[in-house]
């Protein structure tokens, strides 16, 4: 699992970490049961503060992607599921992004192809 943090980005560091871990799960790089690097480890690896890492981990825990094991620390889990609420949020998140692409002249198919490309990289479910 290789994280890449952009310090100049306007997206918060903890969000970058969170997103990349979720992408790691989608890509099959991170599997259920995998132990995450300790908060302090990851923080020192990237030269960031442990609270920043903790916030990312805690959000992932709240969403059901991580669990805290009393001995192993944070562990990948898969309790997150797509309920109706999530689907609603998903649409709300996608809508402005897709609208922007469309309003810039892209065709529906072009946009769909990009979505497909991204999804194809994700590991097929066994």
């Amino acid at each position: 699992m290789l994280l890449k943090i952009e310090f100049e980005s306007d997206v918060p560091i903890y969000t970058q970490i969170k997103n990349q871990i979720i992408e790691g799960i989608a890509l099959g790089i991170l599997k259920e049961g995998d132990e995450m690097p300790s908060i302090r480890q990851l923080a020192s690896d990237f030269g960031i503060n442990l609270h920043t890492v903790k916030k990312a981990y805690d959000l992932l825990k709240d969403e059901g992607f991580l669990n805290v094991h009393r001995r192993k620390g944070y562990v990948v889990t898969k309790n997150a599921f797509a309920d109706d609420n999530f689907i609603e949020e998903l649409k709300k998140d996608l809508q402005p992004i897709l609208a922007n692409a469309y309003s810039r002249g892209m065709m529906q198919d072009e946009i769909l192809t990009i979505c497909e490309e991204i999804l194809r990289k994700f590991k097929n479910k066994e």
Copy 2:
């Protein structure tokens, strides 16, 4: 064009305005040449600050969705286009959202269908 502002959203108000105007363009509700309500008008309609509306309008101007006309005020334009930079950004924006949906157990097809649904609402280009 009906704007709906959620004061308890974590999305900044100026972003909400900006997004909804872009969506209005995608949906065909706002067409090239349409005059936007004045900053003062819109601000007082929603009981928000002038600066907030101006920030949204200015961002839209920077992106090529609005123009400032000396007499008519802000006017819908269509100078925004999808260059390589934008496509890169688009992918970067979509990736974490799609990964999240996928990691929650949704199938690629399900996710694509949602994208398609959203896109279908947008007005076909004449």
Copy 3:
């Protein structure tokens, strides 16, 4: 709304704050729409750190008892409801406490009476 913090308690300060706010809602002292004191305000009132207060507020937000309004700050809301998950948790929380009382020789009725007393203080729903 009067908060009382016990610094020598082994229950974390942010939990004390969180609990008392929930009790305030149950008692009818805090009503939907009420604006909470600002993070900094409450922190300085009690001589504690603003992060501690923020953690309490954020937990309450996650549970649906508070919302962040862009102008008013944290506001009492009532999105929290008792789904099956909550009921499960509730039982899991109550069980050891009630077992302890029972194992110390209290009769079922005695224990129930205490629960009733506590519940009776809560404001009847209109």
Copy 4:
């Protein structure tokens, strides 16, 4: 007596052990005079540290639920009783839990019924 330890719970393991033993007593599974498994035994059964088990046992001893017998090891006893202090603590523990349930829209009767259900499982005193 079957213990079940959740390593990913936020409840400390020694507390889980302690609680389940008290519940065992309430349920009548553990009776006065019963010999507990040895610390070593229990620790190795669950792959946990000796100190963790010892801490649970010692706390139970302090509260009057266990006694140390020179030969038999830890033995169930029933010296624990509900003095005024305990009743105070009991109320303090119950209040936030019940307030939470109530603030989520449960009716007083619903909550009481749950308490009753739990209590009913406990063995009637002979």
